[in-house]
Assembly symmetry: C2
């Protein structure tokens, strides 16, 4: 791997021929990442549950197994040069209902996974953490990486737990890792019905002529990042050899949920979305916008996707897959 | 409870008649805490494993049960006004051998305990965290509470995990808690043979005419806090009603292990301790001294125990109990 070139690098530069293991390859980010890695010429091995979208999985080496299957994991880790850790199982709402269960199932499995990586001699990892939850209620905006981390959700705490164990492995065992604290990703392959992914849900419901659902007054502000931009950051992180190991990845722009509804309507040429308001969720911070100056400076990365173009691409993808998914919208 | 008076308060002021539950009451800190609470007139209920020292348990309501016994815990929590959380099971070395197991056993049990506290309607908790491990390698000295938390031990990470869950409960459910990041406590009731508590181990071995054991070159610097001072901070924390919920508790003074050996010899009137050096442990940070200006200012607390007097008291206590503990010194 070429660890030297960073600035001005072509996407995926330095990954050609590199044996990359993607844990959680069947998920939203995983599918996008696998495609980008294949385009970059990497030898990609996907691991995880089957993808939610038939035919979405590109042509790659594939192990279908659960997170907790240590035998399958151990075999997959053998010879992997870079491991992308996207496993995590839960969505925020599930973690909230039973924090101890989320810790027992997802937290423990994640720490066990790190132990397996160490035992297998893995040298590099990229972990996608949650820039939207690890900081808690922001004291300053945009939020820099050295902001205090006081999550108001169990989901955020357990992402932080994995970050800390990665730090320990780096310090004690020289297992180099990069943590990307990602903003709210959106784009193709995001399910509109998993309780995570507000943009996919909004577009899908507008396409179906259904009212949109908003928790609280819709003034909650989020930082929406196109998944292609997130994946580009992950490819840079995979060949990053510098000291800095923690980066925010976001668009740098805050948008309220009502702004997003208006943008979606403008993109679809619709007007007057009917909004069903549900009670605000205590797990939601009022605002989250990430300071992305560190990743710009150190990895030479910047968000590239135009907001309206990103929404359009998401809508096109949803138009293609939704007819095959009966009931996808009511389960959200 | 009188929540108003803080400065210049008598030790335990405001706790008379308060129903206090001490989880982990049979341990080193727990035994000292129970005695102080009883002196302050609190209604004390101790919970935990039997104390290591026969006869050490004062006359109090006592539930002998394991950490994970949710039925016994639920019953104990009923009606408790203040809960002191000293359970944690592991010592640093055990957590290090298998971080995932430590998380599965101690981390999960701790988070389950917090869920039980919330369900039982507990309003106040005091948690003793680890000022010696949560910060990791210090970037500045003494270490203030807003120093980054990058532990280099699983023990430290899992203390931090509990801190974060306490923060979530405070934010989301109004369960008020105070976190005390304690320096290295020493004093009566500390076992010389558990792999934690270097002062007890040093004194016990010198009393027995045995060589002392030092990991590394003995230049590692620690902040040693007499347990009576820690307990005084816990009593203040129990009646603290202010916004600030996180405090370092230390002596404010750093001492190397070799300094401690010299102090112990001076206190015992001995000379020329034979030192057996073992390899340095990667889990040990090179130096740890806590900045205690916040707790001085906000809780009006200060360390009171003179260093040599503290060592003398510890030696007197050890002289009284060691003859009954065959093999206590070789197991360290």
């Amino acid at each position: 791997m070429n660890m030297q070139r960073r600035h001005g690098a072509v996407l995926g530069d330095g990954l050609s021929g590199t044996r990359c293991l993607v844990l959680g390859a069947g998920g939203f980010i995983g599918l996008n990442l696998c495609r980008a890695l294949l385009r970059a010429g990497a030898a990609v091995h996907g691991y995880g549950r089957p993808p939610a979208w038939p035919g979405a999985l590109p042509d790659l080496r594939w192990t279908q197994a659960e997170f907790g299957d240590t035998a399958a994991l151990g075999a997959a880790l053998e010879g992997a040069e870079v491991v992308f850790h996207l496993l995590g199982g839960s969505v925020p709402a599930a973690a909230e209902r039973d924090p101890a269960a989320d810790l027992r199932i997802n937290g423990v499995a994640s720490v066990e996974l790190l132990g397996l990586c160490r035992a297998a001699g893995v040298r590099r990892m990229v972990f996608v953490s949650s820039g939207g939850t690890v900081y808690g209620v922001p004291r300053i905006l945009p939020i820099p990486e050295d902001h205090p981390t006081d999550p108001i959700s169990a989901y955020g705490i357990h992402k932080l737990l994995v970050e800390k164990h990665l730090g320990l492995l780096a310090h004690r065992h020289g297992l180099h890792s990069v943590v990307l604290r990602a903003a709210n990703p959106y784009g193709p392959f995001q399910s509109p019905d998993r309780g995570q992914g507000v943009i996919a849900a909004l577009i899908a419901r507008r396409l179906a002529g259904m009212p949109v659902e908003v928790w609280g007054d819709g003034q909650v502000v989020r930082d929406f990042l196109h998944v292609e931009d997130l994946v580009a950051a992950m490819l840079r992180a995979a060949v990053h050899a510098g000291e800095e190991r923690l980066f925010n990845v976001g668009s740098g722009t805050g948008r309220s949920i009502l702004d997003v509804v208006a943008s979606v309507d403008a993109m679809l040429g619709l007007r007057g979305a009917e909004i069903h308001h549900h009670p605000a969720r205590p797990v939601d911070v009022p605002v989250n916008v990430l300071d992305i100056s560190r990743i710009r400076r150190v990895l030479g990365w910047a968000p590239r996707t135009d907001w309206m173009a990103g929404l359009r691409g998401t809508a096109e993808w949803l138009r293609g897959v939704l007819p095959a998914r009966q009931g996808a919208l009511v389960r959200r």
